[in-house]
Assembly symmetry: C2
DNA sequence: TTGAAAGCGGTACCAA
DNA sequence: TTGGTACCGCTTTCAA
């Protein structure tokens, strides 16, 4: 591999000059520049990211921290982030936090050490202090699906509450009168927001009852169990709003086994809009703009990295109601 | 952040000595070592990966190239790779190749440049030359789901043909007599292997007919279309072996729409054993040990990185038949 | 057993 | 506009 020195020799200039044309910084004569570029070309020279980052520049690497890439929501996010990053010449390090603060700290250490330029955090367990700490080390950070209103941290979030409202209203429109909710883990902010949206509409219609709510785990299994419990308490349930699509799938299974036909007996709607909601019957859902979130997060991150002005607030994204078979007779 | 020089000063030794204790290389007096460790401790010193890799050591980073992390097979693989790597102090860069040779080359360039220690390639479009080229730059490589018998490249593969045989035999056992196959893209090796396994058994039983085979794309959509075509030609199909689970889900939808009950009218089996085959009815499948593949690949890669002896051949992994609802009355 | 010093491949400041 | 050169933080001969 050719080095900057090889280039400088071939072009008969100093390394400083070569560095200048590489970075388009400082003055450099057109003729000289041409010569340098020529030399780079013939040596098929590529500056070493390693060396650049050591010398204080950026590493052209960002990290994406997700709870678990196995959850189908995150591959979609990862894909969008990776695409956007790659387009900008960045490389993405993937981290699975498993909601484990210990593991998270561990990652943060590794990443700091690697002089990562920035981090996108889609893990619910981080503490705002950790992000601020990063920023102090001039590592940019963007948070997804969480927010820290009292800290200068850029966050991205779907309109969870509004989405929940849309979901429940949709079930009401379809004629449901006994609507249950399978919530996500309540220590997770979006779960609480969705629950709140549900509660809001139910109270509006005088239909609210705590026993219509069961807490799941954002996984198929938890949705399944929650649905079973709910059916035990309320065999007359005719509408279910699940806090995410995976739990909706679990609920679907439970309903199927209980002999309830979807959507004839029970209408079911999820949240997220993950691609694999391609089950039979197809799942109605509140779709988050996952890909857009990833793209936006990456762009905001880049802005921070380049010290361009960005508002460090929570940016909210619109969700859409996707009506499919599970709520349509 | 403390540097090696800070440590050396505090411990009253040279940086060389500190380096020695860090790397456990060369001789160093016990007392001195203790002092150095003490100093590292009090400064909570962590050596910079950047600097180390620049100085010629390893970057403690590997890359995983997949066609598309959106395909549920790959998150499982990625998760296993990341876990194994993380445990060994390595960081994983994720790349989506999209089967695009151009993009692949691009990634290879970036990765070489970043002095990545090794690459796990689960992309079907790479050329063996590219891998050899890497090895020449002393970047380790392991290939998944592909193999290059005539090159010294370490590969990992499931027993695709055997798996296909198991699948078809299972359908026969269940009493199927008209068994169709939805194959993956035939330019992909595992697709061909699975097709071969299917063909083998069908011929054995004098049931083979080319029109019972339709080519899909490894995605839900392609499985759906292929199933529709097959039904047109053979309304009497009573068994389907799909080349992967996603296509099986597509087939399931097509069957459902065509009014065929699964498993009563048609028995259906997939391949891969991805977690989200949790549709209703649950899909029978030939499960690949995806997590194990990821783990093994990572370990083999590490071996190569550390110049430990490894056989650069294709290692084959066993698959298992998972009987679930889609083939059980 | 230890230390001095020459890189690794760049960046950037200061002179020329 | 250019070039010289001192780093960035660590590894690794080579001598002492």
């Amino acid at each position: 591999m050719a080095t900057i020195r090889d280039v400088s020799k071939l072009a008969n200039v100093s390394v400083a000059t070569v560095s200048r044309v590489i970075n388009q910084s400082g003055y450099v004569n057109e003729v000289t520049e041409k010569a340098v570029r020529q030399a780079m070309e013939t040596l098929s020279y590529v500056p070493s990211d390693m060396a650049r980052s050591l010398a204080g520049k950026k590493s052209a690497t960002i990290a994406l921290i997700v709870p678990d890439i196995l959850n189908p929501f995150f591959p979609e996010l990862a894909r969008a982030v990776e695409d956007a990053a790659h387009q900008l010449g960045y490389t993405v390090i993937l981290c699975n936090s498993d909601h484990d603060p210990e593991k998270e700290r561990n990652y943060f250490g590794m990443l700091k050490n690697k002089r990562i330029d920035g981090i996108i955090v889609a893990s619910y367990t981080i503490h705002p202090q950790q992000l601020l700490e990063l920023q102090r080390q001039s590592i940019a950070a963007v948070v997804i699906d969480n927010h820290f209103p009292s800290h200068p941290i850029l966050a991205l979030q779907s309109k969870n509450r509004e989405g929940a409202v849309m979901a429940v209203r949709h079930l009401l429109d379809r004629g449901c009168t006994t609507i249950a909710h399978i919530s996500g883990p309540l220590e997770i902010l979006p779960s609480r927001e969705r629950l709140l949206g549900y509660e809001l509409v139910m109270r509006e219609h005088g239909m609210f009852a705590p026993s219509l709510i069961a807490e799941g785990d954002f996984h198929v299994e938890g949705g399944y169990r929650a649905m079973q419990e709910l059916l035990k308490l309320h065999p007359d349930i005719d509408g279910v709003f699940a806090g995410n699509d995976l739990m909706a799938i679990g609920a679907l299974k439970a309903l199927y086994i209980a002999g309830k036909a979807v959507p004839q007996d029970v209408k079911l709607i999820g949240f997220d809009g993950i691609a694999l909601a391609t089950v039979v019957p197809e799942l109605s859902t509140i779709a988050q703009p996952i890909a857009e979130m990833g793209k936006l997060a990456t762009h905001y991150l880049m802005r921070q990295i380049r010290n361009e002005p960005v508002e460090c607030k929570t940016h909210e994204l619109d969700v859409r109601l996707l009506v499919r078979q599970s709520t349509t007779d």
